[in-house]
Amino acid sequence: MKKKIFSKRYIIETMIEGSLMLSAVFSIFITLGIIFVLCYESLEFFKEIPIKDFLTGTVWTPLFANPQFGILPLVAGTLLTTAVAVSVALPIGLITAIYLSEYAPHKFRETVKPILELLEAVPTVVYGYFALLFLTPLLQKVFENLSGFNALSPGLIMGIMIVPYVGSVSEDALKAVPMHIREGSYAMGATKLQTAFKVLIPSAFSGIAAAFIMGISRAIGETMIVAIAAGMMPNFTANPMEPIQTLTSYIVQVSLGDLPHGTIEYKTIFAAGIVLFIMTLSFNIIGFWLKKRIREAY
């Protein structure tokens, strides 16, 4: 039977399919929009500031009378808070994943997982408040040279915040290891601990690495916790006790002020944005690639 091309039903079907397709294609326009806006504004910026000075300079004072535009202090600040966060999130996330998937009774897992997911639901501005006004004073009792704004306290909070994320990606990887591999290990007389560390972790390695990499990407992009509790000091340092500034909190600082559209200071936030975007994008791509390998392994 031939399709009646002009029947009412056919026209409606085609129109609906078309509009649904448009909404799916829209997501590509978002990505294009991001790339376009970031490139357009930062190209203007790089016309005035040579890209070499931008990438290798160690002083970032764009709002001063004698401005200098070296991005390295912001990158260092970002990596510093990220390092603190990841060194908390990776061990806790991995141990939690092993515990929940191998040790915990089913009922315990089903109650604990939704509660842990709430950690990601808490608005980050609330975490910022907590890091600045609760954790920092507490840490100052232990480390006397810790300044009021520092990289340590927001890093720690950020780390616990991404535990559920790192944990759930690692757990997926552990679950993807086939049961007979576990059973083989148990049959040899291994304990659960030995099985976890000598069999499961090596087998699920690429998935766990994906969790690690994507955790890093999350920590790099986190904004409000560091904007509130890490200070606004572009400081080229690796010492977590000092106040620092990250790429994200610099953008916040500038946006809070009233900068006229088109000035060089206005364009700096897009230059910082493009560095941030490239950093998170490359980590995400590596993470996706590793995650995909979980499915291919068996």
Binding site: L20, S27, E41, L118
Partner: protein, 306 residues
């Protein structure tokens, strides 16, 4: 021979002991997050509870901490959420339906999928920069409720799409085939079967996305929301015909997390109490929404048995 057996038993006992220790460490590390949540809540409650009163919800921000309230902030949050939902829900659900039910498996569909995964990993502040460049200056929407709502809509779009797809994917193929066998068209199948069966999962995704949007601060700061607003946007409902008014879309605004951020960043301790009170309101709002989402997911999972 006897000695080695004893040694072996000793070894086994040691390993079992290590195993138990690890189980304990695992339990502790699982509870770290829960403890943090509890301490966070108690800390906020101790600092902020004294400031929560009827007046706190009905006053504008002020130079005097005792007078200050969150009226303009919560009204702003509600208005921004209307825009966000109006943009993100149809786009997100539509895209999800298209990708699961209509899209052919080819490089273009693959590209859209990779792209959505990737968008989910873009830091929220980048969406703020996009909205600043595109909505504020290119489309000239200004620093308005519309700009803020659209920025958040773009941000939660991947969440809504992924939740929709996951919900639709859970429907067995036999349902579709039954509908086609009775002569239903594709859209009739989607409208009368696919959407009703997956509505639980879709709603869960929408609510989670909206709760994320309520707490999101960074993109709203970037598009230039004001931190001190002592007036309300024009009311969306009018007594005269046509009863609706869209001037509020273009009004300057502030939202709850920005009000809280503003109070945290002040040096005076009295304002920190206000911040804690605003934090309690925010936390209760987002946690209630998440609880609702978990409840809906649980209820629908129970109801439908394929």
């Amino acid at each position: 021979m006897k000695e080695t057996l004893q040694e072996l038993k000793k070894k086994i006992a040691k390993r079992k002991f290590y195993n138990k220790i690890f189980a304990f460490i695992g339990f502790i590390s699982t509870t770290v997050g829960i403890i943090l949540l509890a301490v966070l809540f108690i800390d906020l409650a101790i600092d902020g509870a004294q400031r929560i009163s009827y007046k706190f919800f009905t006053s504008f921000p002020s130079r005097f901490p005792e007078e200050a309230g969150i009226l303009s902030a919560w009204v702003g949050t509600c208005l921004v959420m209307i825009v966000t939902a109006a943009a993100a829900v149809p786009l997100g659900v539509g895209a999800g339906i298209y990708l699961e039910e209509y899209a052919k498996k080819n490089w273009f569909t693959n590209l859209i999928e990779i792209n959505i995964n990737n968008l989910a990993g873009v830091p929220s502040i980048i969406y703020g920069l996009l909205a600043l460049g595109l909505f504020v200056y290119f489309f000239n929407f200004g620093e308005s409720v519309l700009t803020g709502g659209l920025a958040l809509a773009l941000l939660i779009l991947p969440i809504v799409i992924m939740a929709t797809r996951e919900a639709i994917r859970a429907i067995p193929n036999s349902m579709r085939e039954a509908a086609y066998a009775l002569g239903a068209t594709k859209w009739q199948t989607v409208k009368d079967h696919i959407i009703p069966y997956s509505i639980g999962g879709i709603l869960t995704g929408i609510i989670i996305g909206m709760s994320r949007a309520i707490g999101e601060t960074a993109p709203i700061i970037t598009v230039g929301a004001l931190t001190f607003i002592a007036f309300l946007p024009p009311s969306p409902i009018e007594p005269e015909f046509p009863f609706l008014n869209f001037k509020w879309l273009m009004a300057p605004f502030t939202v709850m997390p920005i009000q809280m951020f503003n109070w945290v960043s002040r040096p005076q301790q009295a304002f920190h109490l206000n911040a804690a009170a605003a934090g309690i309101v925010l936390l209760v709002m987002t946690l209630l929404m998440n609880a609702l989402a978990i409840y809906i997911r649980y209820k629908f999972r129970k109801k439908i048995k394929w």
